[in-house]
Amino acid sequence: MTEIGLKRRNINKDILQVIILFSMLIVIILIAGILKPGFLTAKHLIAIAHDTSIIGIAAIGQTVVILTGGIDLSVGATMLLVDATGAMLLGGQNRITPILICLGLALLIGVINGAGIAFLRIPPFIMTLGMMIILTGAIFIFAKTSGFASPILRYLSVQKVGSIPILVIVWLFLTAIMAVIMRFTVFGRETYAIGGNPIASYHSGIRNKIVTLKVYIISSIFAGIAGLFLLGYTGVPELTYRGGGLGSNYTLTSIAAVIIGGTVFIGARGGIERTLFGVLVLKVLFSILTMMGISQSGQLIVQGVIVMLISGIYIRLERSRF
């Protein structure tokens, strides 16, 4: 097979995968519309998008990490830590310092994750699993389940411009910015290079460790932003621990979204924009499950099955390339 032939077939496969993602989303929405009249109204679809944006923001960071072949299991815990800390420090007032402290906290978590993985060479999922458990302990030692979001945060998370929620605009904006950064900057290129082949990227002069560090910082910052909006969205801190590690449901959703998008398995051809579809597919499914009255356990099962099935399908698709 010639080089050009290989490329063309890859492009075809890429288009095919995007079509699959799109049609999956549309089919699911149509089925839901048939099952439940009122699902297919603009108002409800916008509500779903609104509900999706928080985890969508967290999934952006997760995508960047997964592009390098790593994983961040501490996304959910970081979100809830920022959520609780923000509520505690803000106390329902408009102040900038608590917001900065929250983002600083997220930055710190990212630096520790990245440093552990890049410099101490701890495998990514062990580093972030350990971090998740440490944060779980820390949050229940220090945080009180009290406090409120500041009015501005609440305004940004709940209000709408016309009929489109501000949060959705923020989410799409961040996705677009990150997609551009990943495609057209040196950092983005380096990230893809490490994901493709770390040894090759090392020998071509990319400082793998620095890029890895940056990637985990980005993931934590996005988790931090998502945590702040989560606080704004609900108004009060969400501090429930129901097994599986703190915030593991958010972590799971963010990973599942990236997997549905396919970034995990196609390396350099994956990207932020694919995760957008992944998150939407998941949230539409969740909304159907909630209508059917099996929200919590159903969500877990559906996400798990999807993670396993889609992984298998993508790997089959990719292997048939050769």
Partner: protein
């Protein structure tokens, strides 16, 4: 040279005795027989889970679903044992084995990354567990609890026996069977193992199946300890089992390690939890300590490893 080798192999037990002596000197309560028995009882489920996890890690993979399988096994036992004790024991075992088998097929046949596969499976098992029982409860027959936890003269015989049997079985499988040699070979280099005629797919599937089975067994034991079923009881077990296996001297990349070190690490981890408890420290500090412990141990282990792949990253 020989003493050095012996110390290298048994250092974890030296560490354990050191911790026990220090704790015994500092906390009077720690010197009681009942404390020792509590440590043994809570070591049993972790030791059983760690056996499966140890096999999986020796092949260079991970199983994150052990905790969820454990919880699922415990809730199913708490539902079924009410009507039929035998079925209540067999059903969780069967289910755990099947779940482990699916994990194994996904990892070996479909080549799905082990932590993605088992992370997905973790969610599914948690979901089913919540569906069966969304809060702790249920019925575990007193006879069953009695059989597992009965004390004869302040000594809980059955847990002690189980711990020793599990240790012997684990060491036997790894050191004396063809399967054990296959596990080491696959972990060292699966391409070479394949060329030398080892059925790599079979071994990979088998270790995950065993891991599912051991997690289910641990769930059955824990449901006797708690006298109820709880789907979230296993949430720390993925972390704990990986910690103990790595602490016990098994390489994360696979291929090197043994089970007796893991048992030593299990005893240390359980002792630490007990010491924290006796010292009256807030339970959430154990989370922080456990997480830190895992990271520190892995960091120390990785410090020695010098493969090009790791240097590059």
């Amino acid at each position: 040279m020989k003493t050095k080798k012996i110390i290298g192999e048994w250092y974890i037990y030296i560490l354990m005795i050191g911790i026990w002596v220090m704790a015994g000197l500092a906390i009077p309560h720690f010197r009681q027989m009942s404390t020792f028995m509590t440590i043994i009882v809570f070591s049993v489920p972790l030791a059983i889970v760690a056996l499966g996890q140890n096999l999986v890690i020796l092949t260079g993979r991970f199983d994150l679903s052990v905790g969820a399988i454990l919880g699922l096994s415990s809730v199913i036992a708490s539902v079924v044992m009410k009507s039929n004790l035998l079925l209540g024991i067999l059903l969780p075992i069967l289910l755990g084995t099947v779940i482990g088998f699916i994990n194994g097929i996904g990892v070996s046949k479909f080549r799905i990354d082990s932590f993605i596969m088992t992370f997905g499976m973790m969610a599914v098992c948690q979901g089913i567990g919540l569906l069966v029982r969304d809060s702790p409860g249920g019925y575990i027959p007193p006879g069953y609890i009695n059989f597992l936890l009965k004390e004869t003269g302040h000594v809980a015989v059955t847990p002690l026996v189980i711990l020793i049997v599990v240790l012997l079985v684990g060491e036997f499988i790894l050191k004396r069977t063809n399967f054990g040699r296959g596990v080491y070979a696959v972990g060292n280099n699966d391409a070479i193992a394949y060329i030398s005629g080892i059925n790599v797919t079979l071994i990979r599937t088998a270790v995950f199946t065993i891991s599912g089975l051991t997690a289910a067994l641990a769930g059955l034991f824990l449901s006797a300890v708690m006298a109820s079923g709880d789907s979230t009881v296993g949430s720390l077990y993925p972390l704990d089992s990986i910690t103990t296996v790595v602490m016990g001297g098994t390489l994360l990349a696979g291929g090197r390690g043994d089970y007796k070190g893991t048992i030593g690490a299990v005893l240390i981890l359980t002792s630490l939890a007990r010491i924290f408890n006796l010292a009256g420290i807030n339970i959430w500090y154990t989370y922080v300590v456990k997480g830190l412990l895992l990271l520190i141990i892995v960091a120390i282990r990785m410090f020695g490893a010098k493969e090009e792949r790791e240097v590059a990253l």
